[in-house]
Symmetry: C2
Subunit: 340 residues, 2 copies
C-alpha cells in the first residue's frame, strides 16, 4: 500500500498537521523538523492523494476542456494541438485536463458534461465554436470559463484568439517586401469574423505602404473556404484583365486550390504570381512549391488559455482578459522577390 500522511508523521515523529504544514511551506515549522519530515517524505515516496485533497479543499484540481465532436476529430488537428497545449501548461501548474466532446448541435436536452455535475472541475476551457445554449447553461454554475479560438457572441469572458489582423498584415507586407504591387485577396465567406479580420489586415498593409486598394482584386463571396472554392475564386480573379503579381488567400485550403488553378494556366508560382496562405497546415509542405504561409501557434494558444484560467482561479474578483496571440510568417517557396 502506498504511504499516507500518517506514515510520514509516524516516521518523522511529528503530527500529521506538521507534515501538512511542511508540504505547504508554512514558515512556522523549524528547519530541523522540516528536514526530518522532508526526509521521511522522500524515504516513503509519499505524495498527497488527489481525492483527499480535493475533498477538504473543495477544489478538484482539474480543468475541463470542451470542444465539439467534429472540431476535435476533423482531419486537420487544429484543436488537438490546442488541447495538447493546455495539457502541457496544466501539467506545469499541477492541474489535470478533463476533455469532453459535445455534439455540434448541442441542445437543451443533451446532458451537461459529467464533470460539472460531479463538481470535478474548477473551471472550463471551451475551444472553437460552442452552441450558445450550452454557454448559457454553463454560466449558471459559477465556474470560470475561458474561450479559445471563439469569441462568444454574448457575455463577457476571457478569450484567447488568433491575432488575425496582425497575421494578415504580416502576410501582405511580406508580399509587398517581395516587390509585389498588385496583390489580390481571396477570402471565402466574408461573414466569418476571422476572415473579416484578415481582410482588415490586408487593407491596412496596403494603406501603410501606399498601395491602392482595388476591389477588383478581391474575392470574398465564396460560400466556404475550401480547396474547390479557392480554385473557383482564382478562376474569377484571373479571368479579368487586371494584372496580378501576388495572392493572399485567407487560408491554406484556398491557397491549394488557387495554386492548382495557376499551374493549370501555366502561371509560374512564385515568379509570376507569389502566393501566401494562412494556417500552416501539414499539406503545405508537400505542395510544389511548398506554401509560404502564416502559422497559427496552436500549442501556444492552449497554453495561454490555461494561464488565463489559472489567473481566474487565483484571483478573487472576476477578471476578463482578452488575449491575441500573434501569428508568425513562415517563408517557403511560393513567394519570391519580383524580377524587374
Amino acid at each position: 500500500m502506498a504511504a499516507t500522511i500518517k506514515d510520514v508523521a509516524k516516521k518523522a515523529g511529528v503530527s500529521i498537521a506538521t507534515v501538512s504544514l511542511v508540504i505547504h511551506n508554512n514558515p512556522r515549522i523549524s528547519p530541523e523538523t522540516r528536514k526530518r519530515v522532508l526526509q521521511a517524505i522522500k524515504d516513503l515516496d509519499y505524495h498527497p492523494t488527489h481525492s483527499a485533497r480535493g475533498l477538504v479543499s473543495q477544489k478538484s484540481g482539474n480543468i475541463g476542456f470542451i470542444v465539439t465532436e467534429d472540431h476535435f476529430s476533423r482531419s486537420e488537428p487544429f484543436y488537438t494541438q490546442i488541447f495538447l497545449g493546455t495539457e502541457f501548461q496544466a501539467r506545469e501548474y499541477e492541474y489535470y485536463i478533463l476533455l469532453t466532446t459535445i455534439p455540434s448541435k448541442y441542445t437543451e436536452k443533451d446532458d451537461l458534461p459529467r464533470f460539472i455535475l460531479e463538481r470535478n472541475v474548477d473551471g472550463i476551457i471551451l475551444a472553437g465554436k460552442i452552441p450558445p445554449v450550452l454557454i448559457n447553461r454553463l454560466s449558471r454554475y459559477k465556474l470560470p470559463l475561458v474561450f479559445v479560438d471563439y469569441f462568444p457572441p454574448e457575455g463577457n469572458f476571457p478569450v484567447v484568439m488568433i491575432d488575425n489582423i496582425d497575421g494578415a498584415l504580416k502576410a501582405t507586407e511580406h508580399l509587398i517586401e517581395c516587390g509585389r504591387t498588385h496583390i489580390a485577396f481571396i477570402g471565402g465567406d466574408i461573414e466569418h469574423p476571422s476572415i473579416q479580420e484578415r481582410f482588415v489586415g490586408y487593407k491596412m498593409a496596403l494603406e501603410k505602404h501606399g498601395l491602392p486598394f482595388d476591389p477588383n482584386l478581391t474575392v470574398t463571396n465564396e460560400p466556404y473556404p475550401s480547396r474547390e472554392y479557392g480554385y473557383q475564386a482564382a478562376k474569377k480573379l484571373f479571368s479579368q484583365q487586371t494584372p496580378i503579381d501576388a495572392v493572399f488567400t485567407c487560408n491554406d485550403a484556398m491557397a491549394i486550390g488557387t495554386l492548382q488553378y495557376l499551374k493549370e494556366q501555366g502561371i509560374k508560382v512564385p515568379e509570376d504570381v507569389s502566393l501566401i496562405g494562412f494556417d500552416d497546415v501539414e499539406a503545405d509542405l508537400s505542395l510544389d512549391p511548398p506554401l509560404t504561409t502564416i502559422r497559427v501557434p496552436k500549442i501556444e494558444m492552449g497554453m495561454q488559455a490555461v494561464r488565463l484560467m489559472i489567473e481566474c482561479l487565483n484571483s478573487e474578483q472576476v477578471f476578463v482578459k482578452k488575449l491575441l496571440v500573434p501569428a508568425e510568417l513562415v517563408i517557403r517557396k511560393s513567394t519570391c522577390k519580383k524580377q524587374q
Copy 2:
C-alpha cells in the same frame, strides 16, 4: 452551493445512509422510501461528488492514457482518434480519461506521470510504442495496464492491436478479385512487426488463390515507410522486367510515393497497375485517383481498450485478453477490374 447528500436526506426525511443505499440500488430499501429519496435527488439536482466518492472507495474513477509526445502530435491524427475512442467509451462507463504525453526517449530520470503518484487513476492505457523502462516502472504499481497498437516486448498484458494479417489479406484479395495476377508488395522496414504481419497476409492471399509468390515482386528493405521511400521502392520494382499489374503498399504514405512514380512513368492507375494502400489517411482523398486502402478503425480501438480496462478493473484475478480489431476495405479509384 450545490446540494450534498445531507440536503437530500433532510428533504426526504431519512438518513444519509438511506440516500446512499438508494443511489446504489440496494434492495433493502422499501419502494416508498426509495421513491421519496429519488424525488428529493431530482428536486435538488443532486449528484454525488467525485472526490468524496474517490476518497472513501479508494478508487479514482479515472483511467490514465499515456502516449509519447511525438506520436500524439504527429500530423496524421492516428493516436488522437484512439484517444477520442477511449473518451467516448469511458464516458459511457462513467470514467474520466486523464491524458499525459511523455518524451519519446523517456529515461529513468524523467518523472512518472503525476496521476500515478497521486493515486489518481485506477488503470492505465498506453498507446503506441512505449519505452520499456517506463513499462517496467509502471508494472511496479499494481495498476492494470492495457496497450493499444503496441505489443510490449516483455511481460504479459492485455492488448488491442490492428488485425494486420486480415487487413493485408483483404487488400490482396481485393486485387485478386480485380483480376490482377502479378501483385507486388512494397513493405518498408520488414523488421517492424506490423509490416511483417502485413507481409504474411499478402502471402496468405496469394496462396489461398493459387497464385505463385515471387520474391522479385517484393521490396521490403526500405529504411522507413515514407513517401520518398515509396517512390524509391516503386522505381526498383518497375526497373525490372517482371510484369506487374497491381501493387499493395504496406501503408498509404508509400502508396502516395508509388503513385507519383507511376504517373511520372506514364503508367496508368488503376488500369495498367492497380494500387492499394493501408491506413486510410486524409490525403488519400485528394489524390488523383483517390486511393483504395484498408481503413484502421482507430476510434474503435480506443473503445476496445477501455472495455478491456473495465474488465480488468471489475475482475478479481488478473486477466490478459488480446484483441485484434479487423481493418476494413475502402474501395476508391486506384483499383479496378483488369481489362482482358
